[in-house]
């Protein structure tokens, strides 16, 4: 029977030649990992809608041309970019600054950090074969993912963050990723966070860039959360309106650790945020939330894999999508409960509010269960704002637009409420309000 062979797209051919061109500059050990990742990627090519995991987000169609990796920006360019950055601006936090995917050392707090917290630029660590590099890519399924493979293959910069056992870092660490310039570029950054037993840290991430610029950021966050450790994470995507933004979180949770992560998307023409969570230890508590507020032409994809491999894990996953214009929202969530993971309690929910007739929402909340003593549930809803609720508010004198905004805020707010860091929570709510104000 006839086999259908995909022709290679110009983007795929382009990526291959970009990879060949950049090969010379690699070190030995990393070169092998990159080579391997790229060969895997190359064999399958850019994922199209025929690939189940990319059914609703056709990267093959969206990424028409391969975009060259960004050069490191000049000092002035970096200064200008930072001056206009808005994500989590003004919050009291230690900061690491990435402009076009390159760590800008003189604009980053690499020294003077609280005791127990160390930050090493990834390029320094790679040169010295840092032992922590072995902690990279902690979740198997992430390593098989084409977006993550591309990140590995083109990895240009990043950071290793370590929190010593028993240290509770009060002040948040803010990673700001800023795109700037006028030429198309791509980035591939990797941040590794290694949290020792009983340690705590709050990590904020903001991603932004100018409108109209077609750039392709691809960032990955690898996290190991030690026993009884706590990892709090808030991520804000306010990329420019022509960006294709790909991101992956790959997190391994040890005994009795706690994860709290939220991702708010307002930017990028196409974004895909992937979370690979591996519950390796017992009695883990994980809160994974996401919110997307989308306007004309945007597509935002949240893909989650929660893999429970140990007893007693609690998972709460809540995703909220607000769709305006002809935007498309995608949620793909999958909870796996392995045979050993008895007494797992997993709840996954994806809700969508459609504000226009042209918008669309694709939901795929999956369960894969092999243990018989678990309580797992998933829910998905989709619809327009409730007329009764609107009427209630309008009957109290609010104009329709205000009433609708209020409902939308309450709807999205649910996913943001879990953010423990007050400043970050306020900043995210500010983003939601700004989105609603711009719409009105």
């Amino acid at each position: 029977m006839a086999e259908i062979q995909n022709l290679r797209t110009s983007a795929e051919t382009g990526l291959s030649s970009l990879f060949e061109a950049s090969r010379k500059s690699f070190g030995t050990e990393e070169a092998i990992a990159r080579e391997e990742a790229f060969r895997f990627f190359e064999a399958a090519g850019l994922p199209s809608r025929r690939v189940e995991a990319f059914k609703y987000t056709d990267l093959r169609a969206a990424m028409k041309e391969a975009v060259p990796p960004a050069e490191a920006p000049s000092a002035e360019a970096a200064q200008t970019a930072v001056a206009s950055a808005k994500g989590f601006a003004g919050l009291d936090a230690a900061r690491l600054t990435f402009v076009n995917g390159h760590l800008i050392r003189n604009l980053s707090d690499l020294d003077g950090l609280p005791a127990g917290l160390t930050v090493t630029p990834l390029n320094d660590a790679m040169g010295k074969s840092d032992a922590r590099l072995r902690l990279l890519a902690p979740v198997e399924q992430a390593r098989e993912n084409p977006v993550y493979q591309l990140n590995t293959a083109f990895l240009a910069d990043g950071a290793l963050i370590s929190v010593a056992p028993g240290t509770k870092i009060e002040r948040a660490l803010h990673l700001r990723f800023i795109g700037s310039g006028s030429e198309s570029f791509s980035t591939a950054t990797r941040v590794l966070v290694d949290i020792g037993d009983d340690a705590e840290i709050t990590l904020l991430e903001s991603h932004e860039g100018p409108n109209g610029l077609t750039y392709q950021p691809n960032d990955a966050l690898d996290v190991r959360v030690g026993k009884q450790a706590v990892f709090r994470h808030a991520r804000l995507n306010r990329e420019g309106n022509a960006a294709i933004a790909l991101s992956t979180i790959s997190v391994r949770l040890d005994d009795e650790s706690r994860l709290e992560t939220v991702n708010l998307v307002t930017g990028a023409v196409l974004s895909r945020h992937q979370i690979f969570m591996h519950v390796a230890g017992v009695n883990v508590n994980a809160v994974v939330n996401g919110a997307a507020m989308l306007g004309d032409g945007q597509l935002a994809d949240s893909t989650l894999l929660a893999d429970h491999a140990a007893v007693g894990g609690i998972g709460r996953e809540m995703f909220k999508t607000v769709i305006d214009g002809n935007a498309t929202g995608v949620f793909q969530g999958k909870i796996i409960v392995r045979q050993a993971a008895q007494q797992t309690d997993g709840k996954m929910k994806s809700d969508c509010l459609l504000l226009s007739d042209e918008g669309q929402m694709m939901n795929k909340p999956e369960l894969e269960i092999f243990a018989d003593d678990v309580a797992c549930g998933h829910g998905a809803t989709c619809g327009a704002p409730d007329d009764d609720l609107l009427f209630y508010l309008m009957a109290r004198g609010l104009p329709r637009a205000v009433a609708e905004s209020l409902l939308v805020q309450a709807f999205v707010g649910e996913a943001i409420e879990s953010v423990t860091h007050e400043g970050a929570r306020a900043a995210l709510i500010g983003e939601i309000e700004a989105w609603l104000a711009a719409r009105a």
């Binding site: 045979q339 694709m362 269960i369 327009a384």
Partner: protein, 489 residues
């Protein structure tokens, strides 16, 4: 929470070792040449004395099938079928029977053993239970008997083997055949289009409420054969029909293929209720033998205010690949899917439904209950989609799964695609959404929360199952009392 003992016992009582229908009937059969080729397709068509257009349709499907690949996306793994090593046509050698007395007594005995009433007279004389069901009995590739034909024709209802309908009502068959499941639809449906041998044809004229339930009983008997039946049901404007389907097969060590196609068409204000008790031989506890059940079932709510409802009780087959679907084309049309799938031993089930909302104010409801035991894998896979024009589409989905033992798996793969703001879709996998009022009523009378939940849900399912005729009731009755305790999403 784990399953309670009562549930475990009940599931065990319908265990594989208890398969009661595994006997074989020895009878002389006529078969096509082994394997598939244009000649075999022509042979089947000639056997049925088919018109040229149908032969052409079959050959087209066959040629297309040659270019297709067997689907691999379902969560099942099995030894691939060797399509050149099966018989695509097998029929009892005796000439077609004009009356019941002419049917090979061996076949009659077979159906008696299965508890299928082929003798109308008994029913009329009140010996058998009062329930009257017209039966079309399909034995391997051909229909051997159809009961109550005369009485049905008085009401204008056409109920006959599809091979006869091709002769007697060619224009009706040609008008509707392949309009719901086109011959290009998928690998198995295309194969079926090329080699389908028999199946039932039902036409209910406008405004007629079919005076009795119609049913088809499928029996695979011959070794190394595949069964490829095709059922076509048309409910004309304002009519109603309830149709039941049952199936069994002998116990054998090798796998046999069953690739059927069912097409339903409901015109304005019509309603079709389609119920299945699927009890093909599931293989033994080690996964040896059993039927591969690769079936395409689809209903088209073509007319406004039409309704199609699928009910299935799935206990058999080694591998199940089956997604009875509704295309809600007419405005205010309604689709329903109620399913209980029990897997045991090494069985693998990948089943679910599709509700495709195209018309305005269309509604659909999906209730699915999967129970896996032994080392089986049970997957619910479903799609609910609302087209841009499907204003006010409404869907409610509830799927529960229950695991008994830690060697099996239960999986849920729902796809919910909404392209319309006025569409309201709800999907949930917990039992908490049962009407709070009903629950409160039960709790007030001293039932525990679990008992109340089980009572309400089972009461609901029972409604549907009670539509099934007595002869299918054995498994179904056992199943309905399985409680929902310990169910997981």
């Amino acid at each position: 929470m784990p399953a309670v003992q009562e549930t475990i016992d009940r599931v065990r009582s319908i265990d594989l070792d208890q398969y009661k229908y595994g006997f074989e009937t020895t009878i002389e059969m006529e078969k096509s040449a082994k394997g598939i080729s244009e000649d075999v397709v022509r042979f089947i068509s000639a056997k049925k004395n088919e018109p040229a257009w149908l032969l052409e349709w079959r050959l087209d499907a066959y040629r297309r099938w040659l270019t297709m690949k067997e689907p691999e996306w379902a969560r099942v793994s099995y030894d691939k079928v060797d399509y050149s090593d099966i018989y695509y046509y097998a029929a009892p050698k005796r000439p077609a029977a004009m009356s019941l007395d002419e049917i090979d007594p061996e076949i009659l005995k077979t159906y008696e053993k299965l508890g299928i009433p082929l003798r109308e007279v008994e029913v009329l004389e009140g010996i058998a239970p009062e329930r009257r069901v017209a039966v079309d009995a399909v034995f391997d590739s051909v229909s051997v008997a159809t009961t109550f034909k005369k009485e049905l024709s008085k009401a204008g209802v056409i109920f006959m083997p599809i091979s006869e309908a091709v002769q007697e009502y060619p224009e009706l068959v040609q008008k509707y055949l392949g309009t719901v499941v086109p011959s290009t639809d998928n690998f198995f449906a295309t194969l079926n289009s090329a080699v389908f041998s028999d199946g039932s044809f039902v036409y209910i004229p406008p405004g007629v409420r079919c005076p009795m339930e119609l049913s088809t009983y499928f029996r695979i008997n011959e070794r190394d054969t595949g069964q490829f039946e095709r059922t076509l049901i048309i409910a004309d404007k304002g009519s109603y029909v309830s149709y039941l389907e049952g199936c069994t097969a002998p116990k054998r060590d090798d796998n046999q293929l069953h690739a059927a196609v069912v097409e339903l068409v409901a015109l304005d204000d019509a309603e079709i209720k389609y119920s299945t008790v699927q009890n093909w031989y599931p293989g033994d506890n080690e996964g040896k033998g059993g039927i591969y059940n690769f079936v395409t079932k689809r209903g088209d709510c073509r007319g406004d205010r039409s309704k199609i409802s699928w009910t299935q009780v799935e206990t058999g087959s080694a591998i199940t690949w089956k997604y009875p679907s509704c295309i809600l084309r007419g405005d205010e049309s309604r689709g329903e899917f109620y399913s209980i799938a029990v897997s045991n031993g090494m069985q693998q089930v990948d089943s679910g439904t599709k509700m495709i909302h195209l018309g305005k104010n269309t509604t659909s409801r999906i209730i699915s209950k999967g129970i896996s035991a032994g080392r089986s894998q049970n997957t619910y896979r479903g799609l609910v989609s609302a087209h841009k024009k499907a204003k006010n589409a409404r869907n409610f989905t509830n799927c529960d799964s229950l695991l008994i033992g830690d060697q099996c798996g239960a999986h849920t793969v729902p796809y919910i695609e909404s392209k319309n703001a006025s569409a309201v879709f709800e999907h949930e996998a917990t039992t908490s959404k049962i009407s709070e009022d009903q629950k409160f009523y039960c709790l007030q009378r001293g039932l525990s929360e679990e008992e109340a939940t089980a009572l309400i849900v089972n009461g609901f399912v029972r409604d549907v199952l009670q539509q099934l005729p007595m002869e299918f009731a054995v498994e179904a009755q056992k199943l309905i009392s399985i409680s929902l305790e310990g169910s997981v999403g």
